[in-house]
C-alpha cells in the first residue's frame, strides 16, 4: 500500500496490526466492530481467535504476551463488549502486561446519546489502562494505533484502549506507516543514572548479608535480563528470592535460590528478607503481600530499588539507592562496574550468612503431612512437576490456594513460563490465559493449575480451545471449597465458613465431554501418576478433576499484622494456633 493512499478505517486497523507484526488477535464481534471483522475476513495476515467471553480475550492476550514478550491484542465491540474487557485490562495494568485493546464505539454523531450499546469506554477504562484514546477522525487513526503499541510496550508495560466509532471504521483516510513513530512526548527512562549504579555497586560490595529480591520487572525486561541476573548471582554468590510474578527469572534448581517470598513464601526467603543488611530489589514493587507489616519490614537493611517506573520508588518503602531504568540495562551496568572495580564480597561474612540461611532452609517450611489415602494438593503439584519436567511446559493458574501451591511446588527454570494473576488476583484468569499461551506455543505442554471455584468463572473458553485444537490441560485441584477463602475464614473469622463451600459442583468429567474435551479424574494417590501421564499423552484439551484433601491449608503464612520473622509454619500449627495467629492489633485492621 502506497503511503498516502486512501483506505477505510477498518483497513487501516488491519494494516497497522500487520505492520506491528501482530499474528493473533483475541476477540469477539458485535455491531460496532463489524467493519473491522469484515476486513479480518478478507485478509490472512492476522489470525483472529474467537473467544467465548470478552474477559477471556483479555486474559488470553495476557497469557500470549507474558509467554512471548510480545504485545497482546484484543478486539471487542462497544458497550457490553468493552465492559466485559475491564477485568482483563485492570489485571494487565496491575501486572504490567503489554496489551492493545481495540473497542468498537457507536458512530461519532451518536456518542453521548445513550445509543444502543453505547458506553463511555474511555471514561470507564481510564483508570484501568496506561492510556486510552477515542478516535474521532479517521486521519488520526493510524498515528493513534502506532502510539498505542508504543505506549503499551515502552517503559512499564501496560494495557491501552483505542476506541473506534463505527463511522470512523467506514470513513476513508490516509495511512501512515509505523516507522519512526513514537509518542509525541512520552519517553520513559530506560538507561539508569550512572551515579546511582556506582552507589549501588559500592553498597553491594560492602554487604555482609546481601539479598536479591526480584520481581516481574525482570521478566518484562526480557530474556536477557534473566541471563544477566543469573550471571550476577554466579559472580557474587548472593542469595536470591523472588515475588510471585518473578518466578523463573532465576532457576528454581539454582543453588542460590531461596524460593518465593511473601505471605506464602518460604521461611528462608522471608527470614533472609528480615535479616539482610543490603536488599537489592530488582523489578519488584514492595507489594503488601510481600512486605507484611511495614514498620517491621527488613528493619536493618539498606535498600537498592531498580524499577523502570519512578512512581514505584519510595511508594511504600523508603529506599536508600533508587535506580530508575530498565532491569537489563541496570544489571548490565552493575555487572560492568562490579567487574571494572574487581569487587569481591567479604567471603567470611557471606559464608556466615549462608550458614544462617541453611539453618532456616533446614526447617523445610514447605513440608506437609503426606497421606496414603487422600491426594494432598501439594503432592499433586509435585507429581505434575516431576512427570512434566522433561517437557517444554508453561503453567498458568487461577487464584486461590492452588495458585500458591503451584508457586511453591512447581519448579520454574526459565522466564516466561509462568503466567498468573498476581496484582489483581483474578479468578478465571488461568484457563483463557492457557488458551493464549497455547496459541503462541502450539507444540508446548500448557497446563492451567486451577481451583474448582475459579475454573467455573471462565470455563466456556474450553470451547475456544476445542475450536482451535489447542490441547491445553486444565488441572483442577478440586478441594470442593473456595479453599483460600475457607483458610482465611478459619484464621480470621472464627472458622465460620460463610458461603465458601463449593456446593453443586459440576461433574467435571462429563463437563469436559460436553465441551468435546477429554475428562479425567484422580481420587487416590496411587492412581495419580497414571492419570497425569494419560493427560500428558492426550492430544486434546483435557479437564482433569484431581480430588484433593478438602481442608488442607496453605503454609507457610505470614499472618496479618505480623513481620517476616513471625511466620506460621504448617507442621507446628495446631488448630488453636491457627485460630489465635492474628493478635488483637492485627484484628483491628479493616
Amino acid at each position: 500500500m502506497v503511503t498516502g493512499e486512501l483506505m477505510s478505517g477498518a483497513e487501516i486497523v488491519l494494516k497497522a496490526l500487520a505492520d506491528h507484526g501482530v499474528e493473533h488477535v483475541f476477540g469477539y464481534p458485535g455491531g460496532a466492530v463489524l467493519p473491522i471483522y469484515d476486513e479480518i475476513f478478507q485478509q490472512d495476515k492476522v489470525k483472529h481467535v474467537l473467544v467465548r467471553h470478552e474477559q477471556g480475550a483479555t486474559h488470553a492476550a495476557e497469557g500470549y504476551a507474558r509467554s512471548t514478550g510480545k504485545c497482546g491484542v484484543v478486539l471487542v465491540t462497544s458497550g457490553p463488549g468493552a465492559t466485559n474487557a475491564v477485568t482483563g485490562l485492570t489485571d494487565a495494568l496491575l501486572d504490567s502486561i503489554p496489551m492493545v485493546c481495540l473497542t468498537g464505539q457507536v458512530p461519532t454523531h451518536l456518542i453521548g446519546n445513550d445509543a444502543f450499546q453505547e458506553c463511555d469506554t474511555v471514561g470507564i477504562t481510564r483508570p484501568c489502562t496506561k492510556h486510552n484514546w477515542l478516535v474521532k477522525d479517521v486521519n488520526d487513526l493510524a498515528r493513534i494505533l502506532h502510539e498505542a503499541f508504543y505506549v503499551a510496550t515502552h517503559g512499564r508495560p501496560g494495557p491501552v484502549v483505542v476506541d473506534i466509532p463505527k463511522d470512523v471504521q467506514f470513513a476513508k483516510g490516509k495511512y501512515v506507516g509505523p516507522k519512526n513513530i513514537e509518542h509525541k512526548t512520552y519517553r520513559p527512562q530506560v538507561k539508569p543514572n550512572q551515579d546511582a549504579i556506582r552507589a549501588a555497586v559500592e553498597l553491594i560490595s560492602k554487604a555482609k548479608r546481601p539479598l536479591l529480591y526480584t520481581g516481574g520487572g525482570v521478566i518484562n525486561s526480557g530474556v536477557i535480563a534473566s541471563k544477566l541476573l543469573r550471571e550476577f548471582v554466579k559472580m557474587t554468590n548472593i542469595p536470591i528470592t523472588s515475588t510471585l510474578m518473578g518466578l523463573g527469572a532465576y532457576p528454581a534448581s539454582g543453588k542460590n535460590w531461596l524460593g518465593m517470598l511473601g505471605m506464602h513464601g518460604t521461611y528462608e526467603a522471608n527470614m533472609a528478607m528480615h535479616d539482610c543488611d543490603v536488599m537489592i530489589n530488582v523489578g519488584a514493587r514492595f507489594d503488601d503481600r510481600i512486605t507484611g507489616r511495614l514498620d517491621a519490614f527488613s528493619p536493618g537493611s539498606k535498600k537498592i530499588h531498580i524499577d523502570i517506573d519512578p512512581s514505584s520508588i519510595n511508594k511504600t518503602v523508603q529506599v536508600d539507592i533508587p535506580v530508575v531504568g530498565d532491569v537489563a540495562h541496570a544489571l548490565e551496568d552493575i555487572i560492568r562496574v562490579w567487574k571494572a572495580k574487581s569487587h569481591e564480597l567479604d567471603k567470611k561474612a557471606l559464608a556466615a550468612w549462608w550458614k544462617e540461611i541453611d539453618v532456616w532452609r533446614a526447617k523445610d517450611s514447605l513440608k506437609y503431612r503426606a497421606n496414603k489415602d487422600v491426594i494432598m494438593p501439594q503432592y499433586a503439584i509435585q507429581r505434575l512437576y516431576e512427570l512434566t519436567r522433561d517437557k517444554e511446559v508453561y503453567i498458568t493458574t487461577e487464584v486461590g490456594q492452588h495458585q500458591m501451591w503451584a508457586a511453591q511446588f512447581f519448579k520454574f527454570e526459565d522466564p516466561h513460563h509462568w503466567m498468573t494473576s498476581g496484582g489483581l488476583g483474578t479468578m478465571g484468569y488461568g484457563l483463557p490465559a492457557a488458551v493464549g499461551v497455547q496459541m503462541a506455543h502450539p507444540k508446548a505442554l500448557v497446563v492451567d493449575i486451577a481451583g474448582d471455584a475459579s475454573v467455573q468463572m471462565t470455563m466456556q473458553e474450553m470451547s475456544t480451545a476445542v475450536q482451535y485444537r489447542l490441547p491445553i490441560k486444565i488441572f483442577i485441584l478440586n478441594n470442593q471449597y473456595m479453599g483460600m477463602v475457607r483458610q482465611w475464614q478459619q484464621l480470621l473469622h472464627g472458622n465460620r465458613l460463610s458461603e465458601s463451600y463449593s456446593e453443586s459442583l459440576p461433574d467435571f468429567v462429563k463437563l469436559a465431554e460436553a465441551f468435546g474435551c477429554v475428562g479425567l479424574r484422580a481420587e487416590k494417590p496411587a492412581e495419580l501418576d497414571d492419570r497425569i501421564r494419560e493427560m500428558i499423552k492426550t492430544p486434546h484439551p483435557v479437564l482433569f478433576d484431581c480430588r484433593v484433601a478438602s481442608l488442607a491449608n496453605c503454609f507457610p503464612m505470614i499472618p496479618s499484622g505480623k513481620a517476616h520473622n513471625e511466620m506460621l509454619l504448617g507442621e507446628d500449627v495446631s488448630d488453636e494456633e491457627v485460630g489465635t495467629a492474628i493478635d488483637a492489633k492485627g484484628k483491628e485492621l479493616v
Partner: protein, 186 residues
C-alpha cells in the same frame, strides 16, 4: 478448638501512625487533548489525594499544550508520589513542585460582590482601595470588586467584606510560576 470465639481480623496491614501534612503547589504541563483534565482529576480521586485548588488553561495554542496549577495537601511522601504519578501519565510533559523549588509566585483572582448602602458602601471602597481591588461593576446598592493576589490576601479581603454585606464570590483558583529566567519543560 475455640476458634469461633476469636473476633474477626484482616489481611491488610494498616498504618495508623500520624504524620504531618503539608500544602504544596504543583505546576503541570500536559497535552491539551480530550480527557486530560478527567485523567488528572481521576488520578487524585482514585488514589485518595486531595485537591485544594486546580486551575488550567491552554497556554501554548499552536502546540495544544495546557498548564495546570494544582494546590494539594499531603505528607511529604504522598506529595512525592503525586508528582511521580502525574509524571508517568502519558500526556504529561513535566511536573514541578513549586513549593519545594521555593522562590515561586502564586496568584489568584476573585470577583467579590458586596451589597449595602450608606457608611458600609464607603467602608467597602476604602478597604478595596487598601487591597488594590478594582470596582468592575456598581449599582446604587452593590459593587463587584476584582482582586488579584496571593490566596491569603484574597481570603482576607473576602473576610473583611462579610460584615459589610458579602453576597457572593467567584474565584479562579491559584496560578503559579517560578521566579527567574528558567521555564518549565514543555
Amino acid at each position: 478448638m475455640n476458634a469461633h470465639q476469636q473476633p474477626t481480623g484482616s489481611a491488610y496491614f494498616l498504618d495508623t501512625s500520624k504524620k504531618t501534612v503539608e500544602t504544596h503547589t504543583l505546576a503541570v504541563v500536559a497535552d491539551n487533548e480530550p480527557g486530560v483534565l478527567a485523567r488528572i482529576i481521576g488520578l487524585f480521586a482514585g488514589r485518595g489525594y486531595n485537591i485544594d485548588s486546580l486551575t488550567v488553561s491552554e497556554t501554548i495554542h499552536d502546540k495544544h499544550v495546557s498548564r495546570f496549577t494544582i494546590v494539594t495537601t499531603g505528607t511529604p511522601s504522598v506529595l512525592t508520589q503525586i508528582r511521580h504519578q502525574l509524571e508517568r501519565m502519558v500526556p504529561v510533559h513535566s511536573v514541578a513542585d513549586l513549593t519545594v523549588q521555593g522562590n515561586s509566585i502564586a496568584r489568584e483572582l476573585a470577583m467579590v460582590k458586596v451589597a449595602g448602602g450608606g457608611e458600609k458602601r464607603m467602608e467597602a471602597l476604602r478597604l478595596a482601595d487598601a487591597f488594590r481591588a478594582r470596582v468592575i461593576d456598581a449599582s446604587t446598592d452593590s459593587f463587584i470588586f476584582e482582586i488579584t493576589g496571593k490566596p491569603d490576601k484574597v481570603d482576607q479581603f473576602i473576610s473583611l467584606m462579610v460584615p459589610i454585606g458579602l453576597v457572593e464570590v467567584s474565584r479562579t483558583g491559584v496560578a503559579g510560576i517560578s521566579r527567574g529566567p528558567e521555564g518549565m519543560k514543555v
